[in-house]
C-alpha cells in the first residue's frame, strides 16, 4: 500500500471521549502512527464515556472514534510509566490531549514539561469552552455545545419552533476536525522554523466557526433566523418539493444561471397552469426571489406535485439543475456512489468484529488515506515497548 501523506509522523494520543480521539483518528487515516494511550486495567464499560449502544459491552463511541491507531497501556500516575511515556515522546512529532485545563500538568504532561524533553513537539490541547473566561472549568461536550452555540436555532419545520439536531456528535467531530487541521498546520510551521509549539482549540469557537455564515447574518441584521423547513436562507428556490408519487425532491437554484435553467426546465415540462416564471419581476434576481419566497414556493409546489419524482430527476438532471432526494442508511450502505468512493467501509476491529463506518473523506491520488479497525485498549503495548527498547539499545550509551 502506498504511504499516506503523514507517513513518518508519530502522534502521542492521550485523548479521551470523542473530540480528541476524533482528531487523532484523522491523523491516523492520513498515515501518521497514532499511539492511543489508555490506563492499564481500564473498565471497558467506561470507554467512549459509556455512550450507548455497546457492541460486546464496549461503547460504539470508543469503537468509532479510535480507528486508525495503535493501543498502548500507560499509567501516567506511575513514575515508571511516565518515564516510558517520555521515552516515547522523544520519538513523537505531535501530542494531543483533551483534559480540563490543568489536568495534563498534574500528570506531568503539560506543554512546558513535554517541551523540555522534546522542543519539536506540536502540542495540541482541546477544551470545551476555552482556556479563559467564566466557563473555562465547566465540562463541555457535544450536547451542551450544540444547545449553547445556537446550532439548533436555524433548524425546524416551516412556521414551527427551532429544533436540535438529534445526532449528538457534530460539534465534537467538527472540533476534532479543526484540531486535526491545527496539528497539520503546526507540523508545516515546524518544518519551516524547526520548532514545535503549543496550540489550543476549543469546542465553543470551533462550533461557532461551523456556523460562520448564519452567525454573521445575525450580527449584521440583528434578526434571528426563523425555521424554513427544508428551505435555505440565502437563496430561493432551494427547498424540497413533494412530487406526485409522494416522494420528495430537493431542488436548488443558488445562482442566476441555475435559476434560468430551472425556469426553462419547468416551462418545457409537462405541467399545466404554471405561469412563465422567467418573465415575472418578483423572481428576476435572487434577493427578489427570497423576498417573494412564499409566492414562488406555492407555484413550484403546484408544479412538482403534477409529476413523479423520477420524472423531475431526469428533466432537472438533463437541464443541469442541482437536485437530490432523501436516502436512508439501508440504501446508502449498498449505494454505488458510496461504495465506489469508499465513503462507507466495513473494517475489522480487534474486539468487536466487523463494523461499518465512514471511510476517508479525502481522495488523495498519490498518497492515499487509509481506514482500519479499532485496537483493544493497550493492544500494541508489547510491540511499542519493543520498538522503544530496540531504539534505546541502538543509541550510544549516555556519557556520564
Amino acid at each position: 500500500m502506498a504511504a499516506g501523506p503523514l507517513d513518518g509522523v508519530r502522534v502521542f494520543d492521550m485523548t479521551l471521549w470523542m473530540v480528541g480521539p476524533w482528531a487523532s483518528m484523522q491523523l491516523g487515516a492520513l498515515g501518521a502512527d497514532v499511539i492511543h494511550i489508555e490506563q492499564p486495567g481500564v473498565d471497558p464499560r467506561t470507554l467512549g464515556a459509556g455512550v450507548p449502544p455497546a457492541i460486546d459491552g464496549t461503547s460504539i463511541g470508543y469503537i468509532t472514534w479510535n480507528m486508525n491507531k495503535r493501543g498502548l497501556f500507560l499509567d501516567l500516575k506511575s513514575e515508571a510509566d511516565r518515564e516510558t511515556a517520555y521515552q516515547l515522546l522523544e520519538t513523537c512529532d505531535a501530542l494531543l490531549v483533551n483534559m480540563r485545563p490543568g489536568a495534563a500538568e498534574r500528570l506531568g504532561m503539560g506543554y512546558e514539561q513535554v517541551r523540555a524533553a522534546n522542543p519539536r513537539i506540536v502540542y495540541t490541547t482541546i477544551t470545551g469552552w476555552g482556556e479563559v473566561g467564566p466557563m473555562r472549568d465547566r465540562p463541555g461536550a457535544d450536547v451542551q455545545c450544540q444547545y449553547f452555540t445556537g446550532f439548533w436555532s436555524t433548524n425546524g419545520a416551516r412556521g414551527g419552533r427551532p429544533e436540535v439536531y438529534r445526532h449528538f456528535t457534530q460539534m465534537d467531530a467538527t472540533t476534532g476536525n479543526v484540531a486535526a487541521q491545527a496539528v497539520l498546520m503546526g507540523l508545516l510551521a515546524r518544518h519551516r522554523s524547526g520548532e514545535g509549539q503549543r496550540i489550543h482549540v476549543g469546542m465553543l469557537r470551533a462550533g461557532m466557526a461551523l456556523q460562520s455564515a448564519r452567525i454573521a447574518e445575525h450580527l449584521a441584521t440583528g434578526e434571528l433566523h426563523e425555521p424554513l423547513g427544508s428551505a435555505g436562507f440565502a437563496a430561493a428556490p432551494d427547498q424540497a418539493f413533494r412530487c406526485r408519487d409522494g416522494r420528495w425532491i430537493g431542488v436548488s437554484a443558488t445562482s442566476e444561471a441555475e435559476w434560468r435553467r430551472l425556469a426553462g426546465a419547468l416551462e418545457a415540462s409537462e405541467t399545466v397552469g404554471l405561469p412563465r416564471l422567467a418573465e415575472d419581476a418578483r423572481f428576476a434576481v435572487n434577493r427578489e426571489r427570497v423576498r417573494h419566497r412564499d409566492a414562488l414556493a406555492a407555484l413550484l409546489e403546484q408544479a412538482f406535485a403534477q409529476l413523479p419524482r423520477d420524472y423531475w430527476l431526469l428533466r432537472l438532471g438533463d437541464a443541469g439543475v442541482p437536485c437530490g432526494y432523501p436516502l436512508t442508511w439501508d440504501v446508502l450502505r449498498e449505494h454505488a456512489q458510496v461504495l465506489e468512493n469508499g465513503y462507507i467501509r466495513e473494517v475489522l476491529t480487534s474486539g468487536w468484529g466487523r463494523v461499518q463506518t465512514g471511510g476517508p473523506p479525502w481522495t488523495l491520488e498519490r498518497t492515499s488515506a487509509r481506514w482500519f479497525g479499532t485496537p483493544l485498549p493497550g493492544e500494541h503495548t508489547g510491540e511499542i515497548l519493543d520498538e522503544l527498547g530496540s531504539r534505546a539499545a541502538a543509541l550510544p550509551a549516555a556519557a556520564d
Binding site: 457492541i55 433548524n155 423547513g229 430537493g250
Partner: protein, 382 residues
C-alpha cells in the same frame, strides 16, 4: 509573527460556501490567497441578506484573500489563470474551476496541491451530477435527525455539508503539503465531496447500526425521537441533564424546584433516572412534567438549582444571546473586520498566531495588482 501557513500561495476558483471557507481558512492561517471570480462574481455575492451590495455570507467567508476577475472565455485571462495556478502551492477549485484547461493534468505543475471540492465524489454514477447543500444533506441522511418521520424534510440551517467538506479539505491540503515539503513527494490532486463529508460525520451512527448489543441509545433513537426544543422555563429554554447527579441530588432538585407533586406520577418515578436532557432514553416521556416545574422559575434560576444539585445545565442560546454571552467575549469568538462582525478563526497557535489579513474584496478589487505581479514575474524569468 507569521502564521503557520506563511509563505504558501493559494489560488481559489470556487464559489458559494465550501471552497471559499477552505481558502479563507488557509488565508487566516497565513497563506497568500488569490481568489479568481468570473465577471459576474461569486454566486454568494447575490445571496440574502445583503450588506452594502454584497451578501453577509460573502463578507463572512471571503476575508483574508485578494480578489480578481478573470473571464475564462477570453484566452489571455484563461492563460493568466493557468499561470497563477502553475505558480501556486495550492489550488482550491469547485465546479467553477473545472475547465479542461485548468485541470490538474492540463496544468502539469508537479508541485501543486490541487484540491477539488465536489458534490458527490470523483467516482461513481453521480460523479458528474450537479449538487447543492440541500441535495447533499438529503442524500447524506442529515435530514433524518430533524423533523418527524412522515413529515416534510427539515434541513440543517447551517450549511453543514459544505462546511464539513471545507474542514476536511483543509486537512487534506495540509497533509498533501506535508508529504510534498517534508517527505519530498510531489504535489497531487485530491478531492473532497459534500456527500462523503456528511457520511463521514455520521460514522458513529454507522457503527451503532453495525451490531449493537441492544436497540437503544440516542444514536439509534435519534431517527424517531420527536423534535427537541429544549426545556422551557418561565422565560427561556435550557438544556439540562441528570447524568452526573446521584439519586439524592435528583430528589433535592425536585424539592428546590418545589415540584414535589411529581412524585405522585408513577411514570416519572419509574423513569426519572433516564428521563431528562436531549439524550435521555425517556426524556420525551417526562419532559412535560419537568417543564411544568420549570415554568415557575427563570432559566437562570433553574440552571443554578440543577448545578447546585450536581447536574448539568446550560442556557439554550439563540444567536442574539450567544453574541451577548460573556464566555464568547472572553475567548474572542467574534471579531470585527472592516465594520463587519463575524466569527474568528478557531485555532490558537502560541508560536505562529493566525490573523485576519484583510476584509473580503470587492469584485475585482485586486485584478490590476495581481496581474501586474504576474507580469513582473514573467519578465523576471525571461
Amino acid at each position: 509573527m507569521p502564521g503557520p501557513l506563511d509563505g504558501y500561495r493559494v489560488v481559489e476558483i470556487a464559489e458559494g460556501v465550501a471552497g471559499p471557507y477552505t481558502a479563507m481558512s488557509l488565508g487566516d492561517a497565513g497563506a497568500d490567497v488569490v481568489k479568481i471570480e468570473p465577471p459576474s462574481g461569486d454566486r454568494s455575492r447575490g445571496w440574502a441578506p445583503a450588506l452594502g451590495g454584497d451578501s453577509v455570507v460573502w463578507k463572512a467567508l471571503n476575508r483574508s484573500k485578494r480578489g480578481i476577475i478573470l473571464d475564462f472565455a477570453d484566452d489571455s485571462d484563461l492563460n493568466a489563470a493557468s499561470q497563477l495556478l502553475r505558480q501556486a502551492d495550492v489550488a482550491v477549485v469547485d465546479k467553477v474551476g473545472l475547465l479542461p484547461e485548468l485541470s490538474w493534468d492540463a496544468l502539469g505543475a508537479e508541485q501543486l496541491v490541487y484540491c477539488a471540492l465536489s458534490g458527490w465524489g470523483p467516482r461513481g454514477p453521480w460523479a458528474e451530477r450537479e449538487t447543492s447543500e440541500l441535495a447533499a444533506q438529503l442524500a447524506g441522511e442529515a435530514t433524518l435527525s430533524l423533523g418527524s418521520p412522515g413529515e416534510p424534510p427539515v434541513r440543517l440551517g447551517t450549511d453543514a455539508g459544505s462546511m464539513y467538506a471545507a474542514n476536511y479539505a483543509i486537512q487534506g491540503i495540509c497533509a498533501a503539503l506535508y508529504a510534498r515539503d517534508v517527505s519530498g513527494r510531489s504535489g497531487q490532486r485530491l478531492e473532497v465531496s459534500l456527500f462523503g463529508s456528511l457520511l463521514a460525520m455520521r460514522s458513529t451512527l454507522w457503527v451503532a447500526l453495525s451490531n449493537p448489543d441492544e436497540w437503544w441509545g440516542f444514536h439509534l433513537d435519534s431517527y424517531e425521537k420527536p423534535p427537541d426544543h429544549g426545556y422551557q422555563c418561565a422565560d427561556l429554554p435550557i438544556y439540562f441533564s441528570l447524568a452526573r447527579m446521584g439519586d439524592a441530588g435528583v430528589e433535592r432538585l425536585i424539592d428546590e424546584l418545589e415540584m414535589g407533586w411529581v412524585r405522585d406520577d408513577a411514570q416519572f418515578e419509574a423513569l426519572k433516572r433516564d428521563g431528562a436532557g436531549g439524550a435521555g432514553r425517556y426524556a420525551h416521556e417526562l419532559k412535560h412534567l419537568w417543564e411544568q416545574g420549570f415554568a415557575a422559575w427563570s432559566a437562570a434560576e433553574v440552571i443554578e438549582k440543577v448545578e447546585r444539585c450536581g447536574g448539568w445545565a446550560f442556557p439554550m442560546h439563540d444567536y442574539a444571546r450567544l453574541a451577548a454571552d460573556p464566555q464568547v467575549a472572553a475567548v474572542d469568538a467574534i471579531v470585527e473586520v472592516d465594520g463587519v462582525r463575524q466569527v474568528a478563526p478557531p485555532w490558537d497557535f502560541d508560536g505562529t498566531p493566525t490573523g485576519i489579513r484583510r476584509p473580503a474584496p470587492t469584485l475585482g478589487e485586486h485584478t490590476a495588482e495581481v496581474l501586474a505581479e504576474l507580469e513582473q514575474q514573467a519578465r523576471a524569468t525571461l
